[in-house]
Amino acid sequence: MEKKYTIPIGPVHVGLKEPITAWLDLEGEKIVGATVRPGAIHRGIEFMARDRNPIQVIYLSERICGICSFAHVIAFLRAVEDASDYPVPIRAQYIRALVLELERLHSHILWAGVACYSIGFDSAFHLGMVLREKVMDVLEALSGNRVNYGVATVGGVRWDITPEVGKAVREMVKFYRAEFGVFYDVVTADHIAKARMRNVGVLTAEEAVRYNAVGPTARASGIRCDIREMSPYEAYADFNVKAIVPQDYYGKAYGDVFDRFLVRVLEVQQSLNIVERIMEGLPEGDIVHEKNLNKVLATLKKAEGTGLGIIEAPRGDDTHVVHLKAGDENVNWWKVRAPTYANAVSWPLMFRNNELADAPLIINSIDPCISCMERMLVTDTASGGRKVVTRAELLEMSREKTRRLMQK
């Protein structure tokens, strides 16, 4: 029998974009056990939100994540608008859907590049970085920013689509139609890429349902779930979006990394179609229900209730729940469940019977967004138990640690 040893992937690792640790038990190159330990970048954003009013929290929620920042904003705003029954003009809904799709393009192209990097295919990685610039340029033309756009506000959006922006978007669609084919070729034609991704990190359809996978991860396992199809929000009901599942294209869903790559590449094409249709059918009208922020805040202050916002972020279902209390200007409480939180549970299953060489690829295959995910309460993984630490206990523990550090 071979000697077993444990190797950490992370918390800081070349193949990973964000800090997460996977302790892998290895026999030779084979993975026989895996423990995933998150917790490196918990920032307590939800707690910070309790000192801020909903308009301020918009910009806070944008900083939950770097890539799906707009998805978090829309999920948060939909929750606030749901709690206070706030109307949104139709043109604003279209613009929101447009930016959501642009963000999906951004996220998926970046992911495709990073996945290629994980298998040592640096040329495709650099190509992905080049392609990604184009959508960022369009977002910059629209909002003036490339990562955190600051586009949405309560009851609408802040920036309108001018003819110049419209032209930039159309150019971008044409550019991607011409250039994105390379990634499609990586999926279907490159033998090494196929050898690296086929039957790696398999998650079967039953497991995807049982372990609550969402978004492209679930769709790659053959589950038709896309919130844009099942429960359309914003302007999506007008476009008749259909969930993309691999069995429609290859006859069978394997649920491996290859299928996840395929689903994302096909979703880029789908997003391009949606963007085109949004630009065709953009209705005239106001872009925001009420421009005066003081009036908006006054309305929100009177509102009482819990609102729910669920949208299809690039990585899966992004759920925000917000409670507003009448007479209280600040957000009473706010809960975020980012898609990675649901998908990360499947990691240990995906590691089964794979090799060390596959580990970073498998971690990346669900497109993890660790900073999105890390907002749970304190759990004690060391003893296997799980308990919530109260504020007083935490304070005492912190003081004790400070004392310990000072003694050294």
Partner: protein, 330 residues
Amino acid sequence: MIAIVMRLIAGTALMLLVVVLAFLYDGADRIISARMQRRLGPPLLQPFLDLLKLLGKENIVPRRAVPWAFNGAPWVAAASMILVFLYIPIGSLPPVLGTHGDLILILYLLGLSGVAMAVGGFASGNPIANVGAQREMILMMSYELPLAVVAATLAWMAHKTGMPGDPFNLETFAGMSVWSVTGKVGFIGMLCLLIALVLVVPGETGKGPMDIPEAKTEILDGLIIEYSGRNLAMFKITFALRALALSALIVVLFFPWSPGPFLRLGGIFLFAFDFLWFWVKVFVVQVFVVTLMRTAFGRFKIWQASEFYLIKVAGLSIAGMILASLDLLM
């Protein structure tokens, strides 16, 4: 006595020259690869700057390492690679130590440098380096078979067709093109051997798609993870020299032609021209077998690479051997 002194001087000059050339070609390799990826790439002299920087850095030996093996391995690896060039004829110049070693010795020196790297990885006491060293050993065992078949077939060809000189000595192949002695069937056989040798190069040089022992995104540069400072500089030299040595070997074995005689050059000019022409050929070969290959493909997994070498490339080289034998029998 004078002959020995001459050899010492020539050998030292050659060693310095190949190190400089290896780094220049490495810089060019990085620029060409970058241009193919729509990047600008580093300046041509970047490898030299990296080397200078590394030589000035602290040399850290991990607490759990075996110091003598950890520190010795990079030197053995670099020294054995640099020795290879003393046995390779450059243009129409005979190798410096030509009469003291042949193709088999070169293969062993290449192997020794790989083993030294693996020893360094095992000695560094890091589990990730351990994985990298295991991969290096597996990879070596995989590509040795096609490499040995290529070498043996070529020597047998040289022996049977009566090429002048010792069949295992590289000067034999440098003096007379191996393509000129084969028939039609043998030509196809030689082509198979050439392709097999080209496919062995990525494994031997540790460049993509066979950069498995040093896979950055998997095992964080694998067996060189713990190396720093002077030791890492030695490994950088080793990597650059490996690419150069393998390209030079391909040139000597398969592309010995030179337009020198047609230009009616004579005496010292012919030697000088052939010398420069040789390095031009090496550069072209290196661009094709190292730069293009590493830019165009992703990375294999170790068992896939092993299968690739032991079944596909070995099959190709054995097919080359059979075709060459058929040619000789006919």
